[in-house]
Symmetry: C2
Subunit: 519 residues, 2 copies
């Protein structure tokens, strides 16, 4: 990548605050030091730098392939929504009213040598920069849907959206973000609800098997539902500070949008009916989830499936003759690895110490580094260094380092690389699961709940709940926690299944919910 | 595609105005009847429907692969540009001032039961929805570029942009459109100018070898340059009505943006210098170019490299038994074709006449149709129908139809399909070249010029020119023509090379320019 040279060499933790010292600052340091994103000159809007964007592109491809495999096609709808159109579905409009960027004029003018907005270019009707596209898309579906033969209509859009957030954080919450939004139309409620579940399963598959982030699936409570939805399903991941992150949502919208946009279809019996709608989306927020789940104090850690570079090769030398030989070997190894589908970068930059290169690629999350020195050439081996290993209890620093850095016969190292990538992918998920399980509790009393969540404490709590919306507010105020989801039954650990008693109200509860602090 | 069923069967030209009758209406009919795009509820903004978007996605992939192969990486910059930032480069701001969508507020409010813009949410500084991103990107580059080691910086962005056009036409000119914009930074003028040429060559390659649209490459005149550029290079295609369409531009921006954003770098000699900039872009307008170059009165014609479906197979039957056999054979042929990398759709919709299916897929531009009836099964042959053949002088309608529709032994038809796709790709370019050459003239007098362009007349005219900017206006007013480009020397037909005399002023001219009416 052309901008890699903008980095200055630093020691491992140089420029990165440790997680223990300040988790929030650590996150921002990773984003910055791994060259993922930057703040821009526009309040709340981020710049996604090439390394961050390359990860997003890989994630897009994984998602898009799955959308197409489940019968969806892509399309593109306008950026702007007329105010009156957004206002049609009242609940929806109310939900987004406080964060809408509004276009009111369409021309500039130079007045007294200063460029200003031309007051005469005021629009008859203000335009909202889409915060989500239900209203504009359903206005279109009205023209596209007449009969049951036109259903289901399965469309996805890749787009930018704007929600004028007051407190922003790179990737996690920004005024403008990139996302995909699926908008489907169905003849029946049951078909629409099946679609909602199908797409949530796609999201869970990508989270776990591509991002290596384990998730809990479930329904949102009434208060946390998407504005205008009848059911919102979600996947929730746990970050390393024990907080939950909502990673994707899939909504059953009932006939609300069909009614406000007047979209009816002629059913097989020849009667007019309103169409049933779903929508579902994930965004660049997932890059934030990726960082916060896997990375460490030395920088980013990427699952191989999302790593733009799988292996970086660094030639090591003292003399020009050694430089020539080790660099040639690095290139030769790169060619052989690429033939196996491995994405390789040879870092042969001159005037830079190997150590500085190691730190840079560690910071950027490259899964494997190969060091090639004159002695490796003689021995016919390669020094293969993993970006991480799962730490074992009681293991010495030295033993850990030995597992991380191994000298492997050349042919074996090359032939084994695809499998090593699979291993790293699997181990990352395993490590994240272990981390999550360690911070998950089954809690039955309010005292235990308080002990678990007091101060900076966080994690997942499986809790019986039978409270009202107001009771949720009480819990939220007192502990900064919320119901992350009403989980699908198979998502609850076996030991936590079955009915019980609400920790707040003492009322009977049919099954536990997932509670946590959240981003 | 799930929305294909929204089409009602029509006769070949049903719903499509002929080119001869009304070229402009024909274009809009194709866009509509081939399901490519729709007008939206927002003035000037289009909806790109799944079939149109699938073509754009293929085009994106072809372009993106070439950008990456020439060392570029993708990134993403904010949608909004603060007014003061846009105003910094004066010429640039002036060029876009008349078509800027302006965000002035960030919240809605319900007043007396009506959703309105909250007057208290007025932004301190208005934000411009990007018409292009030079200013916002160079504000960022200031932080990314310090030394010659950071150069060249080779970044591309895929994005939506907004230019508040008053007269819009689907794909060709819309208020919002999708595009890519490359923004590169270089240490020297010569490196930057090389980049400008390199990317123009990439565009010409995609135009000719992917879109099958022959183009003339050259420089824009001063009056037609991008606002803020020192040199604008372009590719110009000819549409079937003889008008030119600018299909892509590549700009050398000199140090203008580096100066207004104060981007300096430390050169190898340790001195501070301003950086040299380029930018280059193509947009969804290319889909318009594709339509207007190849399509006919029966609908869209697509080059195989951009066709989402290469082959559609239609089983033909009268009895349920025949239906079963021909449909099974259609599926079997599809499997064998897919194994060769051919994108196949089996159209086994029931209750629809084969003819209606033929017309639908013709309208949508599928390059090859295979019909399979009971007799084809018996004979072991397939009926292969091309979407087009190059018409030959004096050929009877019957002979032409025989070349278009052929019965080919099954194995041969399947094995030969990839080659047939290459043939169709090549023939489309050839046909477009012939069409262009037929409407191209070397013109030496104003009388001949007038005769060529009067009324609806158009085409490419190679003309000697030594006029001023004002003289260009005279020609534009009188004939509705403009200088499409000052061509690179190798772009001029041999017979038109060398010096001569300006047709308007009689002054000496070193080489001819390309004149035409244009979109």
């Amino acid at each position: 990548m052309s901008n890699q040279q903008t980095q200055q060499p630093v020691t491992a933790s140089d420029g990165i605050t440790s997680r223990a010292a300040d988790y929030g600052q650590w996150y921002l340091d990773i984003v910055k030091r791994a060259d993922l994103a930057d703040h821009s000159s526009v309040r709340g809007c981020m710049v996604i730098k090439p390394h961050g964007y390359a990860i997003w592109e890989k994630l897009q491809r994984e998602l898009d392939d799955r959308f197409k495999a489940t019968g969806h096609v892509n399309a593109y709808f306008p950026l702007f929504i007329p105010l009156s159109m957004l206002a049609k579905e009242e609940e929806h409009a109310a939900g987004f009213a406080k964060e809408c960027a509004v276009v009111t004029h369409y021309r500039l003018k130079t007045i007294d040598g200063k460029v200003t907005v031309d007051p005469e270019s005021k629009l008859e009707e203000p335009l909202i920069v889409r915060p989500t596209s239900e209203t504009i898309i359903w206005a279109q579906y009205k023209n596209w849907i007449q009969s049951y033969r036109d259903l289901p209509l399965l469309i996805n859009q890749w787009a930018n959206v704007v929600r004028w957030e007051m407190r922003t954080r790179l990737f996690l919450r920004t005024a403008e973000f990139l996302w995909q939004e699926g908008h489907t139309a169905h003849a029946t409620e049951s078909e629409a609800r099946e679609e909602v579940s199908r797409m949530l399963a796609v999201y869970a598959d990508v989270a776990e098997n591509v991002m290596a982030v384990p998730v809990v699936r479930g329904h949102k409570t009434e208060g946390e539902r998407f504005a205008g939805a009848i059911d919102t399903q979600c996947i929730e991941g746990m970050m390393q500070d024990g907080k939950a992150l909502q990673m994707g949502t899939s909504h059953y919208l009932g006939q609300n949008f069909a009614k406000s946009a007047d979209v009816k279809f002629l059913n097989k019996e020849g009667q007019l009916e309103y169409v049933h709608a779903t929508s579902w989306g994930v965004s660049t927020r997932l890059v934030g989830a990726l960082i916060m789940t896997h990375s460490d104090d030395n920088g980013l850690i990427l699952p191989p499936k999302l790593a733009p570079i799988h292996v970086v090769i660094v030639p090591i030398y003292k003399t020009p003759e050694e430089q020539e030989r080790t660099t040639a070997e690095a290139q030769a190894v790169a060619v052989e690895l690429r033939a196996q589908g491995v994405a390789v970068k040879v870092d042969d930059r001159e005037g830079m110490q190997p150590g500085a290169k190691y730190y840079e690629w560690e910071r950027k999350g490259v899964p494997v580094r190969i060091e090639i020195g004159p002695r490796d050439l003689e021995k016919g081996s390669l020094c293969v260094v993993r970006r991480f290993v799962i730490e074992q209890d009681g293991e010495s620093e030295r033993d850990l380092r030995k597992r991380k850095k191994q000298f492997v016969p050349r042919a074996e190292a090359i032939a084994g690389m695809p499998e090593l990538m699979q291993t790293l992918q699997r181990e990352l998920l395993e490590r994240a699961r272990m981390m999550r399980d360690k911070r998950t509790r089954i809690i039955d009393t309010l005292d235990d709940y308080e002990a678990f969540f007091k101060g900076d404490g966080s994690g997942f709590a499986w809790v019986h709940w039978a409270g009202t919306h107001e009771d949720e507010d009480i819990i939220a105020k007192r502990f900064e926690t919320s119901i992350r989801c009403l989980p699908f039954e198979n998502q609850i650990p076996e030991a936590a299944r079955g009915p019980g008693t609400c920790i707040l109200t003492g009322q009977p509860s049919a099954q536990r919910v997932l509670m946590a602090k959240a981003y």
